[in-house]
Every structure is written in C-alpha cells, then in structure tokens.
Amino acid sequence: MSDKLNELLADAGKRRYSADELAFMAAAFRENMFTVLHERGTGHWGGSASSAELTTCLYFDRLNIDPKNPRWEDRDRFVLSKGHASVNLYTVLAARGFFPQEDVHSFRKLGSYLQGHPAMNKIPGVDMSTGALGHGISVAVGMALASKLSGKNYKTYVMTGEGCLNEGQSWEALMFAAKEKVENLVLLVDYNKVQLDGTEDEIMPLEPLKEKLEAFGWLVNDEKYDGNNTADILKSFEWLDSTPNVPKCVIYDTIKGKGVDFSEGKNTWHGAVIDDEHYEVGIKQLRKDKEEKEARL
C-alpha cells in the first residue's frame, strides 16, 4: 500500500476527490484485486476489473455512508447485483474503512467472513447479499420504496452487468419501478459487453439497451460515459443531479478484464484462476498504470 494511497484514504468522507485522485485509487484497488485473486486461486477477475472505477467513485465520491456505523438507517444503499464482482466490492469497502484492508486477503477462505459472493449479515457495509443474478433491481426498488415510506429520502444505487439483464426478473423490476414512479433510485449498468460464455452478441444481445430501458419507463443517459474513466463517471453523477427524480439509469461503457492486455474483453477471464505466469505479466501492467496515475497527482 503506497504512502500516497494511504494519504488519500485518510481524507475519505472529509473532502471531494479529483478525478485523477479517484483514477489513481481505482488503479491501486485493481492491482490489489489482481493480487488477491492470484493468491486465492478463486474469484472473478473480468467483471471486478470492469467495475473498479465505478465502485471507487461511488464509495469515495457519491454514497452518503458512515463506515463506523454500517447499518446507519439514513445511509444511501448500494446493491451489487453482479455479486461475482465481490473482490472489487470488498477491496473498496475495506479501503473506505468498513473493515481492515488486510482481511481482503482472506477472500473465499474457509472461515473467512469475506464470502464468495456478498453476504449482508457477515460483511460490514454490504447492504444486500447477492450472487444469484437478476435479483438486485427488485431489492433496490424495495429499498427505494422504503426510503419514501419512511421519509428518510436516502438514495439507492444498484449495479448490474449484462448477466443480470438477461434475467427476466430485472425487467419485472424495471416495469414496476416505472409504475410506482420510484424516487431516489439509480441503476448503473457496467456494460462491458462480455458474458461468461462469450460476448454479449454471441450469448444474448441486449441492444438497443438504451431504447429498451426507456421503453420500460426509465430515464437513460444520452451522453456516452466511459465507466473506466473517473472524469466521465463524475460527469455522469452531475447528470444524475441535474435530472428529474424518476427511476434513472446510467449505462457505462466499460472493458471486462480492464488493465491487463491478455484479459481485456475476454470472456475466458470471467472467472479463470490467475496462475503465476499470468500474474507476473499482469501485475507489471497494473503497477505501471497505477504509477502513471500517481505521477499525475
């Protein structure tokens, strides 16, 4: 863990970070995720690398949360519907102060609280257990309804990949949210266009995704956002703040397996074990990327 990263993490919740700072943090988290997955020989690299900037920006710029009080009733909620990106969520939660960062190395060990997929009763900061794809939007709609019923008006964010949007339940939830005109609800699509078995086009084409979501009654971003670019993500947050309080979706273009040349855009790296040989190659690239981003600060 670099001094610069520790210095930045100490400011969490106290000030806004710049896009460059968030980019550096995400790069450092991605490096850590790669190492943990290599050490443990299990877990999902492709989708975790894909959403590293998004989760970083959420937890370090967007969510109103208190790591000292993970079950704070007024907190914003986040549901990682693509629960297989658990190592990404755990790395960011630990960095944000929900639990010790060294614990992430126990990921998926027998006896560890860091379960294979997010588990809300075991892991501080996890608002909903996920893993079975397609559940997250429904749960988030329930949380958003509760926000309104209780008058607390916290915000609920849910992140899906393509897999979740293959599931019929997601579309049931999208229809229902529009019917109820649910407020303070945001769907973030980590749109890396690659699934487990192949590309989205090969497995289950979602296009035209924006038009489909709009037809289901959601407000969707017109401007394209690069979900691996923190400046773009911050711009998308401005879009969220400047648009009406209706069910909203941001589609982020991302790259599965981002940051390592042999894994980018490859379905084979959805959940493959990172062996020593690949680790040596990949970690050099991730460290270089992190160092370049640090140099920009």
Binding site: H135, V139, A146, S150, G168, E172, A173
Partner: protein
C-alpha cells in the same frame, strides 16, 4: 363453519395494520382473490401490487425488509413456492429477513383450476430452506394467529392458506404462539395428527371411531417447522399408533418431517400416513377432490381401523 381462511387473513391484515406501522403488503395481481386488497383499501400507501411477477414480488419485499419494514407477500401458494423460490431463498432466507410469505389457495383448494394451480409441494420446498418457519393453519382463527406470530419474528415465515371455508376448531392462543401441537381430543387407542383442513376431518373421524369404541387422540399441528414432534410422539407411544393426515405430497411434507425426527429418535408405535402419492391433482369440486385423493372422514376412519387391527 367460519369464513374462508383467505378472507379471514385479509380482514385480519386490515384490522391490525394500524398497530403495525412496519407492515407492508405486496400482491401479484391476485389481491381480490387472496383478499390482500382489504389491506390495500385500508392502507393504500403501504400496499403494492407488482403485477404478475412473483420473483420481483419477493425481491422488492426483501428490499423493504432490510430497511425496517415487515412485508407480507400474498399470492397463490403454488406460484410463491415455485416462481419466487430463488428470491425467497437467496434474499429472504439467506439473510434471515423478517418477511411473511402468505400462500393463498394451498393444497388442492383451488380445485376447479386444476393441477397447475394446486400447491401440493409447497411445504416440502419451504421447510427445506434454512431460517424459514412453516405454518399450516387449520381454520380461519389459526390463520389470524399465524399472522400475529409471524409479525413477532425476525425471520421469514411461510403461512399456507386455504381458499375455502372450513369448520372452526378450538385453539388456545398461547399454545399456538409457542409453536406447539394443539390437542383437540383425548384418546387412548390411536393418535391422529393433522393440519390444514384435514384437522377437521380428523375430528369428524374421531367421533365416528368413538361409536365403535375406538378413542382417538387428535392433534392439530399448524407448525411444520419448527416441529413439535415430541408432543406427538409421546401421544403415539401412549396409544401405540400414529396416523398423520395432510393435504400435500408424502414427499417432503408433514409426515416426512416427522419421519426425519423418528429416524434418529426411534418411535415405538405403528404408523400410517394419509398424503398424496407421487402424482398431480385434477379439476373438480374441492370436497370431492379431497375425497378422491384420500382426504375424507371415511378414509381416515378406515385407515385408523386398519392400524388398530
């Protein structure tokens, strides 16, 4: 004969809604059948109709539940137990969330709609899920008590409701709330344990048996999980015979759950079970259909006599 169980349940939700501000009710476009519309009319802001989408129904309820609400999801038992199982398991049970799953039209009670609408495997499914409790009320009053009980719990509770009216039985509130088997009749010759509508049939059969000098001890057993097997086994070992009656497949149901306990504990009694064998139901008038599938006073009498021979 009391009012139909589903109606009693709907009325009770509406009646206690004021005292339970945490209660929210969700239905899947069957609220006029399940009678959850009665709650919806009384508390429109706490009632959600999600349309014909049982997976979303359970997921939305789980989300509400994580934020301090106590949802009741009300839909047909068959569709809750099959179309929402993934959400009930992974969202409600895995996280042990306070949620009530109220399955209307349990058993064969949606008789005219036929096999596609008859829930004959719901108990097997729900009782297999960790953190879930399973209640099969035997009359309208027990259905109300089941809701009262479920709202005190911090975990999911499945309540299997019947579409139709059935005779009232005398239930002590404290015994029910403690999850105990409820003794309806004392006897020395055979123990009959039943739930749902079969409890009333068991009572009728006991009166018939009494005429030929056989005194049956009859229990209504609303709680399948947790299961008060010890009360039933103590009675069975006293009488020497145990006959179970249920409106469910033999596989995974009430008798099956007792067998799991008996397998380890041992049970010094002769046993027989009235339950559906490995086949689907069919269309017909409810009472006639039940009789065809073995649930009738006459069949209970016959099977009890056979056990005593």
């Amino acid at each position: 004969m009391s009012m139909a169980m589903r109606e009693a349940f709907g009325k009770h939700m509406a009646a206690i809604g004021k005292d339970h501000p945490e209660m929210v009710v969700l239905d899947a476009d069957v609220s006029s059948s399940t009678k959850s519309a009665l709650f919806g009319k009384a508390f429109p802001e706490r009632f959600f109709n999600v349309g014909v989408a049982e997976g979303n129904l359970a997921g939305v309820a789980a989300g509400l539940s994580t934020c301090g609400y106590h949802p009741v999801i009300n839909a047909f038992a068959i569709f809750l137990s099959l179309k929402s199982t993934d959400q009930i398991r992974n969202d409600m049970c895995y996280n042990s969330l306070p949620c009530v799953i109220a399955g209307a039209y349990g058993g064969l009670s949606d008789s005219f709609d036929g096999a596609s609408h008859q829930a004959i495997e719901d108990i097997a499914i729900f009782r297999s899920l960790p953190n879930m409790e399973v209640i099969v009320p035997s009359d309208a009053h027990q259905a109300e008590l089941a809701l009262d009980y479920a709202l005190t719990r911090k975990n999911p509770v499945y309540i299997r409701l019947n579409r139709n009216a059935m005779p009232d039985i005398d239930t002590d509130r404290d015994t029910f709330m403690a999850g105990k088997a409820i003794k309806m009749r004392d006897g020395k010759d055979i123990t009959i344990a039943a739930n749902g509508i079969t409890a009333s049939y068991a009572m009728e059969a006991a009166e018939e048996l009494s005429k030929v000098g056989i005194e049956a001890e009859v229990f209504s057993v609303p709680f399948i999980k947790p299961l008060d097997a010890e009360t039933l086994f103590a009675s069975a070992e006293k009488t020497g015979r145990l006959l179970t009656v249920e409106e469910h497949l033999l596989a995974g149901g009430f008798a099956s759950s007792l067998a799991e306990v008996a397998f380890r504990r041992g049970l010094n009694a002769k046993v027989d079970n009235i339950a559906f064998e490995d086949k689907f139901g069919e269309t017909g008038p409810y009472i006639d259909l039940l009789a065809k599938y073995g649930i009738s006073k006459e069949n209970i009498v016959e099977r009890a006599k056979a056990l005593i021979k």
